[in-house]
């Protein structure tokens, strides 16, 4: 940790005075800030969050370090309806593109389950914990928000669970004393989800298009990782849920889901059909990499699903299986 106390002029080994590094370049400027906006979504509906809730209170410029999305189901069914596919999100920051389109919140990161204290039933009744899942993205590079600017998340309830969901979008970072000079980096999220594959299907194929996992940022994209998820849902009276058992069964199908991936130049990123979780590590649900994509370049994902090892997922046709891939990168925007 650098010494911030006033000090005598330092001298280099060659005997030349070394200028003291200004505080602002040491990264300690500004104040920490944490802002949260909440939206209540009915099944199949969308809504923007309250933009002013994510605005720096004093109108100062800000850096965002972490984006968090928490999905709560305050009904009786709890966490099994708070899976990452239940809600899709689009981020807007003025004219700067941050998402190709609405992306499922699992693109941000692995789910972290949690619970809040009950709000009802405390006086002798049945206290119901508010179960939730949280998806957190620690940005590889801080995202700059100019003075008066605001990051606006728009949310969409995908209609899989019939429950009303409460979605909290939080940002953590720091406010700055002055606008940031120099180039600024912004995240860019894109995703692809396969069609719903019947739980009793014996074979299926899936393929993304040129617009799914594409660089639509208009700038050169520094891709940092691919996120890959397998999910199975059961139909619980018309409301699809993803319980732990179904999640495990879906993960099993990694051996049955063989993946190939190509970039827009035809380069075989994954040429040999490879089990899903040998591409997107089961531990972390991602393929961490780093390469550049020029504007409008894309990645094609395809997979063949043949659950021949242990038969189909469920005995009855009460659900479906789905493979999904996300891409996370950063692009540079000049001020």
């Amino acid at each position: 940790m650098p010494d911030l106390k006033p000090q005598a002029i330092r001298v280099s080994p060659q005997g030349k005075p070394v200028p003291r590094i200004p505080d602002r370049d040491l990264g300690y400027e500004g104040n920490p800030v944490h802002l949260v906006s909440t939206a209540v979504l009915d099944p199949g509906t969308g809504a923007p969050t309250t933009a002013i809730a994510l605005r720096e209170p004093k109108g100062r410029p800000m850096e965002i370090h972490t984006i968090k999305v928490r999905i709560l189901d305050t009904g009786s069914n709890g966490a099994q309806y708070t899976f990452g596919d239940a809600v899709s999100m689009r981020l807007d920051l003025g004219q700067i593109p941050l998402c190709g389109n609405f992306v499922p919140v699992w693109v941000l990161g692995p789910a972290r389950p949690g619970a809040l204290p009950p709000t009802t039933g405390l006086a002798g009744g049945t206290a119901q914990l508010q179960l939730y899942r949280e998806y957190i993205c620690k940005l590889d590079m801080p995202m700059y928000v100019p003075p008066g600017g605001v990051l606006v998340p728009s949310l969409q309830h995908n209609g899989l669970p019939n429950d009303q969901l409460t979605v909290q979008v939080g940002i953590a970072g720091r406010s700055l004393r002055r606008p940031k000079a120099g180039p600024r980096h912004y995240p860019f999220f894109s995703s692809y989800s396969s069609p719903q594959i019947s739980a009793t299907a014996t074979t299926a194929s899936m393929a993304s298009t040129e617009s799914d996992l594409a660089n639509a940022s208009g700038d050169r994209l520094d891709v940092r990782r691919f996120v890959g998820r397998l999910q199975a849902y059961t139909n619980n009276g018309g409301s699809f849920q993803a319980t732990g058992d179904q999640s495990k069964l879906a993960e099993v199908q990694s051996q049955s889901t063989l993946v190939q991936m190509f970039d827009s130049s035809g380069f075989a990123m994954v040429g040999n059909p490879t089990p899903f979780y040998n591409v997107f590590s089961y531990i972390g649900r991602c393929w961490e990499t780093r390469f550049f994509m020029e504007p409008n370049d894309f990645v094609l994902f395809s997979a063949d699903y043949t659950p021949s090892r242990f038969g189909t997922l469920f005995a009855a046709s009460t659900g479906f299986f789905q493979a999904s891939v996300g891409m996370v990168g950063y692009h540079e925007v000049s001020p």
Binding site: D222, V223, D245, K248, L249, E251, V252, S254, Q255, M261, D263, F267, A268, M269, V270, G271, N272, T274, P275, Y277, N278, V279, S281, Y282, I283, G284, W287, E288, T289, R290, F291, F292, R309, F310
Partner: protein, 301 residues
Amino acid sequence: MNKQAGGKPIVLSASISLAAGVTGSPNLDTLQSPFDSAVLIDEIDFNVSPGTAAANIQGQNLGAAIWCKFQMGRIALSEDFVPIWNYCPTFDSLAEGVVQTLDAPTSYDFHFRWVLPAPLYVPSSNVLQPTFRNVPISGAATPLSTISVNISYKGRTTHEPPPPLVDVPFVGRWVVNEKVTSLIANELDLRNPFDVPIRVQRFLGRATPRDPVGTAYFWPQFSAGLPLNVRVWDSEGYNIANKVDHRSIFDPLRGGAWTFNSTLGPKQKYTIQLIDVSNLVPGYLVSYSFVGARKERMGAV
């Protein structure tokens, strides 16, 4: 992860099924870069599973049943075969074992992810060859007849020539095969066989029951809560850990790993002694390893 951008991302994969006691290598064509370019391997993923649902995977981690040795020409990443689970820390003991089917008998797939201490440069005309061995870990119970392994190399292509000295990962290991009152690693275990130092990244300590225990857990059970104490010292006799509970060093719920971040000199070694082994529930397979990297001159591989 601070990777150098550049080149194109690539995943190379292969699979092999091995009967008990059999050694073999998968199809190397699919593990070699298909283009006239070298590859920098950043990460190696393993997926291990029984060929069919089996009753005798109950609490046993198949990472102990499949051993692997990597070789690239004259360059080896270990002196001998190493259990797969000794290459990398565990994210979570439960997460390594993924349920295959909820129908009895419950069976598991196992996932392991080894992020190399430093990217491994593989020239365009070469391949990092994995050789696997199915080492039955069961004692009285019938061992699994066939285990399947999927291996994938994740990295990026590069047209850069190799630097004069490249980082080559190295894994030293000690597998404890017998249970007596006290056990100590021998001269060939956990050693640096080279004339150059090894930068040791971490130590790994793992344990699994040899026989089905009827419950799906993958970490050691200690009788009456008594500790399995270990003593660790280096070639100079310096006590790195003097009678410390195994679980406090290699807690499986915290990776089973000990971030070591030290240097093992040329021809030097670490020695581990198990103390109070009688406290360990009978029939356990215990193994230790260190993972690091050395500098190697990349001439004709």
